[in-house]
Symmetry: C2
Subunit: 160 residues, 2 copies
Amino acid sequence: MLKLTKKADYGLMAMKHLAEHSNHGACSAKDVAEAYGIPHEALAKILQRLAKVGLVRSQHGMNGGYTLTRDPKMISAFEVIKAIDGPLFITSCVTVRGECDQSDRCTIREPLRKVNESIEQVLKNIKISQMKEEPEIIDLVKQEEKKPGDRKPAELITIS
Amino acid sequence: MLKLTKKADYGLMAMKHLAEHSNHGACSAKDVAEAYGIPHEALAKILQRLAKVGLVRSQHGMNGGYTLTRDPKMISAFEVIKAIDGPLFITSCVTVRGECDQSDRCTIREPLRKVNESIEQVLKNIKISQMKEEPEIIDLVKQEEKKPGDRKPAELITIS
DNA sequence: TATAACTCCGACTCTTTCGGTCGTATTTAG
DNA sequence: CTAAATACGACCGAAAGAGTCGGAGTTATA
């Protein structure tokens, strides 16, 4: 549960790959797919959606492929995921149109909406350029787990 | 995407309902289901899973039903969700056994694992007793959205 | 200029998971 | 013993997922 789809995974991998190879010109979908062992036609479709929202630029013909349109420091993981999988809502109650459809007494809607916003912010603050294998760059969580019995007045999650 | 299942939604609603009616004795699955307009047999199956992990206690026979086993202040949303939907992993790469199965060059595994931990902590800090319709109790996010072009050196997400 | 190679693009099918239903057995109060 | 409630398993339809196929467009090269 609560996992993002393989498409989003592939999209993030491809964006990172393009960021690392931006100096070598465009990368074809086939090249990226073979580099990570994923079906290249599935990844092509993902890159198409990224091109449609303007995150990458597609280039037809020989030696064509995809290039980033922005500095990878300015592209968040949230943008990539949202482009591929659509808007994210943690709860099934909150739809695009706003409210619960089946029960007007859904009393947990507001707290979960807050959680949803929190997750969005976490993903918005992760940039493609940070997607390296250096975990110390990203310090997402700066707190220990809860201990039942004490109420911590203020907890912190620091990002970057 | 990134939404938790309806079962988890129902489970959280039921837990909150039990927390509010703990002084009236046990609540039957049918009562809870009718209160929120959800099929009572689907909710019964959810409550069974919650009973199996010990979050609620079931009582057979007439005037039976379900009761919480702990103080609702000590039950986190994470426990409920995990009991219903299983362990959560934000990325498909990270399985229960640990690693990517298809590609050993999945370079985004570690950053996403950090994101995953962050989300877990957010959910662990939301208690059933906090699931009221008073949004000011829970202040999950304390920042505005990003503006492409400025780099905020340190961002904060404050919890409770 | 014309051909051919290489790329992107959109529609389609198949599989898996989710949500919900039904039926039967078990337990308990009256 | 009967009524009311949970416990448990199997089953079915719907929906979203992952992947595949052929076609359209573009550029290099002879």
